[in-house]
Amino acid sequence: MLAVPLARLLGLGSIIGYLGAGIAIGPWGLKLVQEPEQVLHVAEFGVVLMLFLVGLELEPRRLWAMRRPIFVWGSVQLLGSALVIAPAAMAFGVPWPVALVAALGLAMSSTAIGLTVMSERNLMNTTAGQSVLSVMLLQDIAAIPILALVPLLAAGAAHAGGGDGWLGAAKAVGVVLAIVFGGRLLLRPALRWIARSDTPEIFTAASLFLVVVVASLMQAVGMSMALGAFLAGVLLAESEYRRELETDLEPFKGLMLGLFFIAVGMSVDFAVVLAQPGLVLAIVAGFLVAKAAALAAMARLMPVPLAERPVFLILLAQGGEFGFVVFQAAAGAGVIDARVSSMLVAAVAMSMLLTPLLLVLADRWWIPRLARGARPAMKELDEPQSAPVIVAGFGRYGQIVARMLFANGLSATILDHDAEQIEAVRRFGLVAHYGDATRLDLLRTAGAERARVIVVAIDDIEQSLELVDLVREHFPRLAIVARARNVQHWYALRERGVELIERETFDAALLSARSVLELMGWERHHARTLAMRFRQHNLELLEQMAPHFKDQAKLIALAKAGRQQLEELWAQERAAAKSGTPRAAWHAPAAGEPAAGDESKP
């Protein structure tokens, strides 16, 4: 509970916080928990829930559309990584069954970390995000054959390991089909029946129960619980309960995932690490590099956009919790000994620890460098322009102004300093020139000497004030129409003598307020009149406060007084209207309403 905010504060992401907490309270830290495996089991449910929610987000159609990335690229990643790691291990003299198990286990990636990071960064809809998801889904599916394979590798597999493999596979397929068909038929009616009970808690409990059932079914046949949950989620993705399920289960997911990461932190067996630090570090570095190499090649082929590649690489190169399962199964079957198993587990856990750190580093250095390199350089405005209007800033604000001008036959020279923005609007047929409007020479080229109006629609406050200062100094006859981002900006513009200023959200907000009044029963025209009066009062207050805008205390006092005055006045009017007496009005009452002698003055 302490670690997460601390980690977030240091910019390291909540995952590191949880992992750190796990290490701290586990057997190697404060020894508060001695048997991390138990916690890990329970916390795995977090991963299961997460995959259920991921499935919920996905539509079956999209899943089917993704079958190629899943099976093709997913297999490429898994086999490719394994094929790099295994021979490398054998080259170091590791016996081939061990090498194979290690390779397959290490090729896995952490679904928990991967999906958490992607949803935190809103990457789910990007190419990289979808690719990562596909690979992870394939890894989950591949779990069956891999686990079936493990006992086969055991030297002297006396017990029915071989037979079990095929039967197990058949059972697994059977369960998947049962879930898919049963789900389509049973799930929605079941949920409908539950929803009818009208108790939200029951619905939540039922949904959790649903996920548990499906997961257990899958586990019973030796398949990944997470995959089962994912399938269930996909089945429900098109149901009317999707939103409710999401909102109900989201908090649990967060909790269990947190627990999961804590458990991972706890299960890092530092004894093994300390015994052979060099070897463990070599394993970590080795498999990370091997996987990263395979992934880099994949990224180029898929292709994944340049700016997204770092995240793609880092998320998939790390080892995954499924590796734990593989190693434990292998140790159980005698393919690898306990010592090797612990080392591999430690390696995987350490790679998971490293991942968030690597992401932070990528954020700070790698991604910005990629972003800079990717943008093509744009040519600055150099031809003299002579339109009567200059529009500086071609975002949402400037575009509306410009379109209105063009519609009325006026020509305008448009300037913007964002190359991407200019590219974007060029596609819509709007022409903007690239350049920094706060440079005098550029303003001259844009025709500021002869133009009659300049619209300052830049969103950066400092730059807009710089521009206004420039215009007032060098082009005094150029009329200024300015956009104010907020009240302080308004004051600063007013101080510079700009008269025609609009606060960018003010009138829109008033229109929304009118809608609310209408919904609450006010007559439409009445709502409009009230909004106009509010607007006028607000503008007058603003003018009143302008001379004091640098004095925070005075501003607050004036604002409060103004607000109070308006509220009291209108409360009086409402009361008078109710009681039926004609009232004194500050301004004219609406048409048709009587008013007593108008002695009051504004």
Binding site: Q536, P594, A595, A596, G597
Partner: protein, 202 residues
């Protein structure tokens, strides 16, 4: 504040010839305040207090507008509704406009002969004056015989210019108008306090 206030209300001044010409002619005279309502209140949000203040010192109030559908243009009507309030222009204590003169300076599209019983406007033009007349009277103002330009659409530029000159000359010579000498003072009718219903809305 000015002795003569011209309240002009043309909804599409960009297309106007007559009203605009008269506005310009009046604006050039000293002591005349021309209030272009559609320019002052394009959003139809009238500052009634400011309007009342502008009328405070006026002796002659002129309503300058094109006749639309036999009456005044919408913003002028809103202006009358909101500015001539109960208790200011009429009713108990409503003496603010008492003793002033109201003069209509209007233009019509139809020619003069269309305002006849056998023509498409079916009435003589004065048939449409009682509402103006009574409005003035209730506010205690003398309703001065209006200045009307008929057939303004077809009028030539010279005719319009001549009309504008007449208008300006009359403003300049106010109150030495022959018709004013014969016009009796206005007896402002009494409107009792209960004549207006109490405000019904919330």
């Amino acid at each position: 504040m000015s002795r003569i206030v011209v309240v002009a209300a043309h909804p599409q001044l960009e297309h106007s010839r007559a009203t605009r010409a008269l506005m310009h002619a009046a604006g050039a005279l000293p002591g005349v305040d021309v209030r272009d309502l559609y320019a002052l209140y394009p959003d139809y949000f009238i500052d009634a207090a400011a309007e009342r203040a502008a009328l405070a010192d006026a002796q002659l109030v002129v309503w300058l507008h094109p006749i639309h559908w036999y009456g005044m243009t919408p913003l002028l009507k809103l202006w009358v509704d909101e500015v001539f309030s109960f208790g200011w222009a009429y009713g108990p204590g409503g003496h603010a406009l008492r003793g002033k003169d109201l003069w209509l300076a209007v233009s019509t599209g139809g020619p003069e002969h269309s305002y006849r019983t056998d023509s498409y406007n079916r009435y003589f033009f004065d048939a449409f004056l009682p509402p103006y007349d009574q409005t003035a009277t209730l506010a205690g103002m003398r309703f001065v015989p209006p200045l009307v330009l008929h057939g303004a659409h077809r009028a030539s530029d010279e005719q319009i210019a001549a009309h504008a000159a007449t208008f300006a000359a009359r403003l300049a010579s106010y109150p030495d108008w022959p018709e004013l000498a014969e016009l009796a003072a206005c007896e402002q009718p009494e409107v009792p306090a209960g004549a207006r219903p109490p405000s019904e809305d919330a």
